[in-house]
Symmetry: C2
Subunit: 333 residues, 2 copies
Amino acid sequence: MVTIKDVAREAGVSVATVSRVWNDADFVSPETRQRVAEVAARLGYSPHGAARSLITRTTFALGVLLPDLYGEFFSEIIRGIDHVVRAAGYHILVSSSHESKDEIDAALRSMRGRVDGMIIMSSDLEAQRTLRTLQGSFPVVLLNGDAESKAFDTITIENHEGARAMTRHLVARGHRRIAMIAGPERNHDAAERLRGYRTTLTENRIELDESLVVQGDFSELSGHLAVTQLLALESRPTAIFAANDSMAIGALSALRENDLRVPHDMAVAGFDDIPLARYMNPPLSTVHVDISQLGARAAALLLLSLQKGIRPHEHMQLSTTLVIRASCGGAVS
Amino acid sequence: MVTIKDVAREAGVSVATVSRVWNDADFVSPETRQRVAEVAARLGYSPHGAARSLITRTTFALGVLLPDLYGEFFSEIIRGIDHVVRAAGYHILVSSSHESKDEIDAALRSMRGRVDGMIIMSSDLEAQRTLRTLQGSFPVVLLNGDAESKAFDTITIENHEGARAMTRHLVARGHRRIAMIAGPERNHDAAERLRGYRTTLTENRIELDESLVVQGDFSELSGHLAVTQLLALESRPTAIFAANDSMAIGALSALRENDLRVPHDMAVAGFDDIPLARYMNPPLSTVHVDISQLGARAAALLLLSLQKGIRPHEHMQLSTTLVIRASCGGAVS
DNA sequence: TCGATTACTGAAATCGTTTACAGCGCTCTC
DNA sequence: GAGAGCGCTGTAAACGATTTCAGTAATCGA
């Protein structure tokens, strides 16, 4: 491996000069600059990242901790982050499967000295509490977590509003028995979406029937299973609101297997508006969230912290919009 | 920031001892070990990654260069890589939008000293040639590239076989006018898939009609556009084979907009079998590729290189299987 | 002609670790 | 009782860069 010393020796200068040339510093004569540049190119020199970040105390890398990597939701987030981060010359160090406190802890430790900041998405409320311990080591942006974590920048989706809008729409279309396929119990987003659903029903004086709320885990399979469960009910719902699109998609396939027509026999709605929602047949009504924007905003916030140093923590809310497609019967007439 | 020195001072030992405790080295008395561990925990010490990898010459990180991050294909690859890599205690440093030679070059430079090896996916054939220059700096696995790059480990999909199988199936179902929505011109996978399509037609003595081959770019939109183009033909095809699923999905939506029924009026097939293919309506016939496996194998190969040092380069072929669903009319009767 | 200024370059300290080597106090052996 | 061996610990040299500070030669002003 060719180091700065090799270049220095070969060019007949000191390592300091090579460093200056590489970093476009002042006070290097044009001739020296040229000669060093040539030698560096010939030897194929590029500085050693670790050595560099040891002394400069910056790595130009951001850590991204995700609970999972499965499905379009996460890939969109990464895409959003990468897009912003790349423009600023940063890279991202990804690590997934971090739900529990211990795993997050371990990941954080192992990233010390390798990243300048972190974007952490852990919907598990418990895990977030423990994060507080790491205050001060480096900037952190919390994604989709508990916005009450005043110790960090946070970005959350308007889950409650979104769920209310969709539930209201279903009610407006005349549905009274609306089922909800809920997300993971300890997930913050899921809880908020469920809450929005409940509030709206109550507001519309529709009695809450707990048998219509089925637990899911955000996966397609769980959506499928939830429908089987709902169809076994004595008094079936006329509409199904899934807490995310993946489960809605699973629901659609289960309904098809049971020869139920959507939206005629059963209206279906999802949440997130992942790219493929529109390609479903029928196209899926859902609550649109600009997922990649979620990542992009988080990245931007983090970069801001890095540039500006300490500053008051921000708590962003990403708004949602109702996207009515065919799966719930279309717009209210 | 708390360093090893702080811990050493606080515990009344030398930094060497702290290091030994941290790395579970021998020859530390139980009492010292305990005391140091306590102090480290109290101070919240964790070693500085850059400093550590500077001296140990390992980073426990692998670089992943992708052309793009859009869509399920890439997220599946990352998932496959992450899964394997995590088990070995590694992280991944992701960087996307690297198609051209220069971009790849820049990314490689910026990753020197930050990763122990790289997985590079660049279907652009030109870019691959230039990669040769970097031989020897660190192990590299080429994904889906030109398997002839004898200088690296490579993993490729059996594109040719897969395309042949699907085309054969369409022929067997009685189709004679089969259109192909091809992928990007300079993409290796795309080229091979197109070649498989052509070989099969020739083998079956079906005349190649170049107006039936439409250029796409692997995006849903391009699939949509391609169909519009095909439908404008005087003599329409009866089947459409898209070089990847995304384009097939775009094709399906275009056909629906034109009130053509699939598979009755037009058979459609894709390639890749991305997770959502089965959820299409009608479910999409496609050539199954275990995408996450592609990433997983690449990661495994890379880890092997890191452990074993120099070894002969491997050239893996990932096999494909035909997945016949409703969109092409089902199995041959 | 001399001192000051300017333009450039080099020596050396530094970042936070790991690790080879040396040292120290014991115990054991002959 | 001297030397060897053992168990533990500390000193100091790396790793590859950046950066401060000092030094040198050339130019300038008086």
